[in-house]
Every structure is written in C-alpha cells, then in structure tokens.
C-alpha cells in the first residue's frame, strides 16, 4: 500500500476511536512535555550561566603581566603560563604591540587606587577604579540605575550601591549630585646623581640587576613625589554588583570613573614603590594589562602570541570546560527524569494498539482477504502509532514550553518580590522542538512494534470468523 493511502487509512482509524486515541495522544503529549520542560530548564540555566559568565568580561579577556610580576599573584598558575620568549617590560610600547595582535579588540591597564571622597562635607575612604567604555556591555551594568559614562574622559562617577548607601540613606538621590575625589598624584622628579638618592653605587647596581635591562641615562626621572589632589565628579549612576575585578585579586572598585579620566589623574598605585626600586625612571609601567579578544575562541591563540612576546598570561577560559561538563551531567539527569513520563506514555500506546487489534480483528481479516500483505497491516499499525507520536510530540512541545513559561513566571514573581532582577529560566530552541517531535515519533513507532507484529501475523481465516 502506498504511503498516502496508508496515512489516510491510519487517520481514519484514529478518528473512529477518537476519545481513546486522543487520551493516548495526550499521554504522549504529557510525556514529551515533561521531557521538553526538563530539558528546556537545563538549557535555560546553562544559557543563563554562560551569558552571565560571558557578560562578566572574563571569558574574552587575557590578563597580561610582566614575568617579574607573575610570581607575585596568588591566582591560578599553569605551567603553560610561562612566557615563551625573552621577558619584557609591560609599558606603553608593549601595550601598543599587544593592541596590534590579530583578534585583539582592546588593551587597557588596570587602574585601581585607594582614595578618599568627600560628600556632604564628610570624608569616606574607598577604592576607585578606571572603567573602559566597552565595559558597558558587562553584566554588572545591566540593571544599573542612571546612565553609563558619556565619554572615556568625562568627569563622571558611578557608585557601587554599598558605597552609595554609606553616602546617603537614599542612594538613588545621589544621582545628579557631585562628589569630590581626593587622591595622591605622582609627580616625576628630575634625574639626579645616584649617590644622592641611594648611596654610593646603589642606583647603578639596582639598574644593572634589573631584569628589564639597564636603565637610567634617559634623563627623564629618578623617582616621583606624591602630591594630594582633588577632582569634582558628577554622579551619574549606581550599580548593584561590582564590575569584574580583573586579575590578581587586587580588590574591586566602588567608585567607578572613566578609564581615560583615571589615567590622566596619574594616581599613585600599589605597585609604584616596587617599580621605583626597579629603577624604571618614571616611565609608565603597568601592573597588568587586560587584552580583550573578539570571542572566547580567540583566547588561546592570543595567549600564545602574548607569551611569545615575553609576557606572562592568564585567562579563565579553562574554567568554562568544567562548567560545560557540569551542565552536560545536569542535562542528562533532567533528560532521564523527563524520559520516565515518556516511557509511561509508550505503555499507553502499546495498550491502545493492542486493544485496537482485538476490536479490529475482523477488519484485519477483511483487509487480508482483499489482498493486504502482512507488511501492509504492520505498516498501518505503525502509521497509527506514528501519527499519535507526531501529534503527541507537537502538543507535548507546546505544553512543555508552557510549563517552562509558567516556571519562569513563578520564579520571576518570587524574584521581583525579593527585589532581584528577573531571569529567563527555560529556553526551547528550535533544535529542541524538532528533537522532541522526532523522539516522540521514534518512541511511538518502537511502542507500536509489538502490536503491529501481532496484527500482521493474524491468520485471516480466524480473523474473519472473529465476532
């Protein structure tokens, strides 16, 4: 029998026992819905975690340190983080070289310094941090109040909410007001004889032993002095969470200012004294540089290139592998639980078709008497199981999506009451829709194997005698 005839006959048979077949199909739909709801939950959570991590700005970044600084950081160490080439100083030249590497979108230093701010006549100690304009896309700024910096050199500030709470009982009222930033500015001291600074031979010894090679003689500076300065900043926003801390655990900033503004301050940073002792003669040398790449897939190649330039590197990309593994296990467990309902639905199909054989025994006999082959009868029952599978699969996907939406709605009601940002808990991508319908179809066919075989093997003479 041709497929079209087979499908028409199967459809007709299914319509005849409408209630029973509808209930069986509903059973399949519930099974598929449970599968889809569980899997969509897994996918939704995974995407949410991946999105949050991606937005953290850590996964498309390579943190670069000079070889001398590398041992100082307490962060993760890897054998392959060792520079492959001769060590180099992490200065402006290096920054420009790094910016020229393929797939690098941005290179910026870590600007973070201790400061004191004055608001309403009272002093508050805190840490200021320079933030690049591209950080606007980071998750930390997703639900910020107010606006992001108007430009990289604006005299504007965004406050972390804890600092804002220190400044005012009504943190939101701070937006639009001014705050005075007090900081220690480094001012270069003109070059002087080494003996006057460090005693006989001390400066030249330090220079010669320095891993960056000989210094001095360039006439720029022999050190720096610290001068207190003030700058008035306009408060334009408040963020809940602190933006990514970068590398090395140096602490996070609660007063966020544009990166260019932060650099122009020439504020004294924690590593300044060490750089001075290394005799870097006032040339700006960075503690770390953050290299942003186009996508996380570029991290490895960029990291290798940077190492070959003589710098130490660190990236967090390896951590994602563990996260993926976790979600694979998590998804598998959800899939197994979801599949249990589908297994029960299979038993429903077997029962329905087995009942259909009893009821249609005579009809099977007639079909065979009229020339139906065993395979035609088998295909007819398969087609009926398949149609129930596809229809059940389609409804199941819809029900599963509804369950996911309901879960998301319920969760978001709770989160809103807790004054937390809402989330998209479940995700039903296209591949899941197609896979669920395909699974439903295949599973239904598998459930139809036994009844279809029994029907095909019926003796036509006995079947025709059946009352």
């Amino acid at each position: 029998m041709k497929l079209r005839d087979l499908t028409e006959l199967a459809g007709r048979n299914l319509r005849e026992a409408l209630l029973r077949n509808s209930l069986t199909t509903l059973g399949i739909a519930v099974g598929v819905a449970s599968l889809v709801a569980m899997t969509s939950l897994g996918v939704g959570l995974q995407e949410m975690a991946s999105s949050r991590l991606a937005k953290s700005g850590l996964f498309d970044a390579v943190f670069v340190v000079s070889q001398a600084n590398q041992r100082r950081f307490g962060g993760p160490r890897r054998d392959d983080s060792t520079p492959k080439g001769p060590s180099r100083r992490l200065d402006e030249t290096a920054r420009q070289d790094l910016a020229k590497l393929p797939n690098v979108t941005e290179v910026y230093p870590e600007m973070r310094f201790q400061t004191e701010i004055q608001y309403d006549g009272k002093p508050y100690g805190t840490t200021a941090a320079g933030i690049v304009q591209s950080a606007q896309a980071d998750g930390a700024f997703d639900n910020m109040k107010g606006t992001f910096f108007s430009s990289g050199s604006a005299r504007e500030a965004i406050l972390q909410v804890e600092l804002a709470k220190d400044l005012s009982k009504d943190p939101d009222s701070l937006i639009g007001k001014d705050v005075i930033l007090r900081y220690a500015e480094k001012q270069p001291i003109p070059s002087q004889p080494a003996a006057r600074l460090n005693g006989k031979g001390a400066a030249s010894d330090a220079s010669e032993d320095n891993e960056f090679g000989p210094s001095g003689g360039d006439g720029l500076s022999a050190g720096f002095s610290i001068v207190p300065r003030e700058m008035t900043l306009h408060i334009i926003g408040i963020v809940e969470t602190e933006p990514a801390a970068g590398f090395g655990g140096l602490g996070r900033g609660r007063l966020l200012i544009p990166m260019e503004t932060a650099q122009k301050l020439r504020a004294s940073q924690p590593g300044d004294m060490r750089e001075l002792l290394r005799g870097l003669n006032g040339k700006p040398v960075y503690e770390t540089l953050t290299v942003r790449v186009k996508s996380p897939t570029n991290v490895k190649s960029v990291e290798d290139s940077i190492k070959s330039m003589g710098f130490g590197t660190f990236s967090i990309i390896d951590a994602t592998k563990n996260i993926q593994l976790f979600f694979q296990v998590f998804d598998s467990l959800l899939f197994i639980f979801g599949s249990l309902a589908l297994t029960v639905a299979c038993l429903g199909i077997i029962n329905t078709l087995a009942m259909a054989i009893l009821e249609r025994r005579r009809e099977i006999g007639v079909l065979k008497a009229l020339g139906a082959q065993d395979s035609d009868v088998r295909k007819l029952f398969f087609a009926e199981a398949g149609v129930m599978g596809i229809v059940g699969g389609i409804f199941g996907v819809f029900f599963g999506w509804l369950i996911g939406r309901a879960l998301t709605f319920g969760t978001n009601v709770y989160l809103t009451r807790q004054q937390l940002p809402t989330i998209d808990l479940s995700r039903v991508p296209w591949w899941m829709v197609l896979a669920a319908i395909a699974i439903s179809f295949v599973v239904s066919l598998a459930a139809g194997i036994y009844p279809a075989s029994r029907a095909a093997q019926l003796n036509p003479v006995e079947a025709l005698r059946y009352e």
């Binding site: 029998m1 041709k2 079209r4 005839d5 006959l9 007709r12 048979n13 005849e16 005579r362 009809e363 006999g365 007639v366 079909l367 065979k368 008497a369 009229l370 020339g371 139906a372 082959q373 065993d374 035609d376 003796n459 036509p460 003479v461 025709l464």
Partner: protein
C-alpha cells in the same frame, strides 16, 4: 478432525460452480484454500497453473488481490467507510493509480446497481444492498475468479435470488469463473452450471446444474 481430506476438482474458466454440502463437510475450507487465505498442509491447488501451496505470503496476497475476488455471507464491509470507500479499498491495497480509481469504483458500483448509495455507510444499507456492495468490492480489481461463501445465507429469498441473478450475469457477461459455497441446493441448481456435493471432506458427487 479433518478439514477437507481427499478432494480433487478441476474448475474450468468461465464456469459457475456451486459447492454444496452439510456443515463441516469442508466446503468453506476448500474455498479459503482457493482464495489463498489458508495453506494446504498437503496436496496442491492450482490457479492459472500456479500452485498456491508453493506461494509465500506475499504471493498469496497478490493472488487475493489480483486473481480472486471474495464475497462473504456476513458481507464484511468495513462499517466506518462509505460504500464508495469500501469498494475503493482493494484498489488502495493493489496500489492502483489514484486517478484511475474513481472510474473503476463507478464501473463496479454500476454493475451492482448501487450508484445512488455511494456515500452511504453499510449500516444505512439493506442486507441485499450490502451484499451487492460486497460484490462490487470483489469485482473492482477485475479478478478472473469470484469466490462466494454463502452469499445468500443472510438474505431473504427474493433478495437472495437477486444476488444469484447478479452472480449469473457477472459469470456470463464478464466471463468470470465463479465458485460458490452454499447450503441452498434449489438455488444452486437454478443458477449454477455445475454442482459439486461434498461430505466429510470428500467429493460425493459432481454434476451439472439446470443452467448447464
């Protein structure tokens, strides 16, 4: 227990044969064997020089679909289908082209004079009409042999005569071989060309009918 035991019959082309006998004589079993619904455990059954005993289930299905048409005492129309759909069913099974089917159905239904009842379901038809519909379904694939198992068994005498006249007409006009199982000796003698009497699985007599 013996379901037919020692019967040797040759039915010629275009012959109208009535198989008579008491219950359990083996006549229905013999008809099922001729139809390819059952297989003989020994012996041979030839239809157009092909031994049905040697056929596999696929070949037997082809034999039922293309060589023979069957009419049953209980009509065996599918209750969910209209008359038209019932008659079309063998064409679906024989994979006849869809475009060709309406004409074939119309031809078969016209033959049994049921054109006005095409869209009716079996439950909406009288017994005689159901048997005529069953006959149309048996004819639609244009078989060479028509096998009828007690075709008038569930009908009153007037309707039974109508069916018998129809069978006779089919035999004469379409040159179709008919083998009919019946209990009804007078009617068999009236319409069939040849009467074969069976008893206890054996051939008792083989003679001519009144129409011969």
């Amino acid at each position: 227990m013996r379901a037919v035991d020692d019967v040797s019959i040759t039915v010629r082309e275009r012959e109208f044969v009535a198989l008579l006998g008491s219950s359990g004589s083996g006549k229905s079993t013999l008809l099922n064997l001729l139809a390819g619904l059952d297989r003989p455990t020994s012996g041979a059954i030839y239809a157009h020089d092909k031994d049905l005993a040697d056929m596999d289930s696929r070949q037997l299905a082809h034999h039922r679909s293309h060589t023979v048409g069957m009419v049953f005492q209980a009509f065996n129309l599918l209750p969910r289908m209209t008359l038209e759909e019932n008659v079309e069913l063998p064409l679906r099974l024989a994979e006849v082209d869809r475009a060709e089917r309406p004409a074939r159905v119309r031809e078969a239904v016209e033959r049994v004079k049921l054109t006005a009842r095409l869209t009716h379901r079996p439950s909406e038809l009288s017994g005689g009409e159901q048997q005529r519909a069953s006959l149309a379904r048996a004819l639609v694939n244009r078989p060479t042999i028509l096998l009828a198992d007690e075709p008038t068994g569930n009908l009153d005498s007037v309707t039974g005569d109508t069916i018998m006249r129809l069978l006779q007409e089919i035999n004469q006009l379409l040159q179709m071989t008919i083998v009919m199982v019946t209990h009804d000796r007078p009617r068999a003698e009236k319409f069939a060309q040849r009467i074969i009497l069976m008893g206890d699985g054996k051939l008792i007599s083989d003679g001519v009918g009144m129409t011969a």
